[in-house]
């Protein structure tokens, strides 16, 4: 499985993804610039990504906690998600996201 990540500089990366991993963990594991300061417990917003429109419908819906946390960012858009709340499944093979400024370490 693969995911496609565009970093804050606009550089595209194709990353190997593992089922059951959080998208945040995959991005972090590959050493891309993602702060993820709370470590994946939906308690900050420093893994904020924009999800490519084509994939929005395939994602597990936004929880209330995630919604609140996204509100703490200043660069939220309609396609904003916390990448720690996106868990890789086969359905998401090929997922495409862009790292936000908030996620910058």
């Amino acid at each position: 499985m693969k995911i496609h990540v565009t970093d804050q500089e606009g550089v595209k990366h194709e990353l190997d993804a593992l089922e059951g991993w959080r998208v945040m963990e995959i991005i972090r594991d590959h050493g891309l610039p993602i702060k993820a300061e709370c470590g994946g417990s939906c308690c900050c917003a420093t893994c904020h990504v924009y999800v490519d429109e084509d994939w929005l419908d395939k994602l597990y819906p936004l929880s209330e906690d995630e919604d609140d946390m996204l509100d703490e960012t200043f660069d939220r858009e309609d396609n904003s998600r916390l990448s720690c709340q996106l868990i890789m499944t086969e359905d998401l093979d090929g997922l495409s996201v862009t790292l936000s400024e908030t996620a910058k370490p």
Partner: protein, 347 residues
Amino acid sequence: MSEKHTTDVIIIGAGPCGLFAVFELGLLDLKCHLVDILDKPGGQCAELYPEKPIYDIPAWPVISGQDLTDRLLEQIAPFNPQFHYQQMAESIQKLDNGNWEMTTDQGIVIEAPVIVIAAGGGSFMPKKPPIPELKRYEGESVFYAVRKMDVFKDHDLVIAGGGDSALDWCLNMQPIAKSVTLVHRRDDFRAAPDSVLKMRKLVEQGKMGLVIGDIKGIDGADGQVEALQVKTKTQGELELKCSRFLAFYGLTMKLGPVADFGLNLHENLIPVDTEKFQTSEAGIFAIGDINHYPGKLKLILSGFHEAALMAQEAFRICRPNEKLRFQYTTSSSDLQKKLGVAEDKAA
């Protein structure tokens, strides 16, 4: 405020590693003062995820961040550590007598032979909206925390945010401010339901304002805010007249002044050796998430291990003329006495 203390070890950061360091240092009879920017102990565990379960603490199949903090406080209570909360360690300097002196942003000065940096991901600092001009108003008419309520008395106050801080301060300021307007991105609040209800009632009675939108700009002169520009979904751009602005957009971690302590840094982390966990300066140690060495894992349990080894070298620095004896808490009556659990065998 200026107060001066002298101790054996200054610990910067009262998270789990800083707290456990008190235990390991305490077994060696070293006294500690802890400094933390938060108003409570526990660091990230208490601030970011007090309720979240942690599964990788040895012998605790599951424990919450708050429970872990409470247990550590119980464990170190016999050593009577001194806590200095809401203090940011701002600068350090080497004294002529070989000790270190650390000064906080609130003017507390502590002298000790050893400093332990256990600052995790750095200091928790308020998140600031991306309005560049905001800087010119900060501390004058724009604030991210309330230290003195008087600053807001008889002012037209705008409060931003949707959490407990924003709502609590709306309710507290409403009686003393000239006017209070709450601005939040959504008409949905994460704060305690009771506070939200009280806020809605005040809005209904016309005693405070509520605007759903994003603050995008600020106007004023000489540090005095006069108006905020708010982008709303339903009413377009609004101008909110005000003379004070309080923003509560949550906290984020930044390395902060530690970056200017003169220590070697590696990508915002402090390199240490893996024998003593000492930094590039003798007498200054770094443990927990803030340090770096080959193979480092950012786990609480790694920080505990680092604290134990650090304490051995801290002892040698603090007590150069005493012999370090390694003892077990299970068998040493000396250690048990320190922990207040020694059995009286005299009878």
